[in-house]
Amino acid sequence: MYTQGLSGPVDQPDQGHDPEREARFQARIDAEERIEPNDWMPEGYRRTLIRQIAQHAHSEIVGMLPEGNWITRAPSLRRKAALLAKVQDEAGHGLYLYAAAETLDISREELVDQLLAGTAKYSSIFNYPALTWADIGTIGWLVDGAAIMNQIPLCRCSYGPYARAMIRICKEESFHQRQGFEIMLTLARGTVAQQAMAQDALDRWWWPSLMMFGPPDSESQHSDRSMRWRIKRFTNDALRQKFVDATVPQSQFLGLTIPDPALHHDPKSGHWNFGPIDWREFRRVIAGDGPCNRDRLRARRAAHAAGRWVREAALAHAAKRRARAQAAE
């Protein structure tokens, strides 16, 4: 998911441009073969994948912050256990994805440094605050729901390690969405105040959730090439429409109103048509000026800096134990 394809261009001319090898590579892709780490690949393919997988990994990691914020305030032990498990899953997703990116000749440290330096992007959605408990329900229902929509086609991505990581992730995401929907259902069947809380959360998260699919196809920079390389199989707009079509009936079941006066069902196409998305807001958030961008990076940097002595001590301890074991031999 979480890959909105917006970080800087990766279109520098390939060194050692080799049309014959590229044609053979493309033929393998067209035959639905998987590309594996040591296989020859065009430099652009490698760089595009690193960028996309890294953005995706960073999104999983930063995505823990808005929800982690509510673990100690979950309304029951059942909800707390579920939220804790979900946030732990997101950490796992980040780690599967970092490992997949590392197979493309970039180190974990470089990837993390890019996030902390602010040069790598992550999904715009995680720059919005989780203000009430209903936000936790909405995040699971909409944000994880949108993630699933985006991620299922990635299970067939042409790059083997990424596709395999996505299969694991997709298996785990379903619980995330369902626990979120259950929270919403409980609120929607609750008191008037609880219903209002659910509606307020939907009002705030609806449009940012639609933005998760990335810019409209007319403005999407890397779309064609990614489709040709089968890194991507559906366009941003197609996935966004699929998400809206799946979500509107769910909101009706909850008795909540989607904050879009233009939303209507088109009997001819069978789709739910929706109103214009505020792409200026999207670009602002991606550029670093959303409600929580600074907070999120500050939190990641603080965690990384605070963990430094632990990482160093663990290495020193392992070295000492190795030396002792060798001396004893």
Partner: protein, 95 residues
């Protein structure tokens, strides 16, 4: 400023008794013991495994994809290694 890197371990998990360990991904850890603990947390949160192997990634010797044809192509022509190559009349029954 530069921090020393943690080594990479490849993780293999036996999913059910009777099946071989299968590669599932990798983890960073300072030593094998920590790699086992990390692999447990990262790759077996839903009872996926009954046994874990971790192997330093640097210890794995892999065949070169460039040698794929040389290594694996010769077997393609040896169809007589497969049971379907041999003719057994239907009357003989299942064999």
């Amino acid at each position: 400023m530069t921090e020393a890197k943690w080594p990479l371990f490849e993780v293999f998990i036996r999913s059910r008794t009777g099946l071989a360990h299968r590669h599932v991904g990798s983890v960073h850890a300072v030593d094998a013991e920590m790699a086992l603990q990390n692999a447990r947390d990262v790759y077996t949160r839903r009872g996926e495994g009954l046994s874990i192997w971790v192997v330093p990634a640097s210890s794995i010797t892999a065949s070169d994809p460039a040698d794929k044809e040389m290594l694996f192509e010769p077997t393609a022509s040896k169809i007589y290694r497969h049971p379907t190559f041999y003719e057994v009349p239907d009357e003989v029954g299942h064999m």
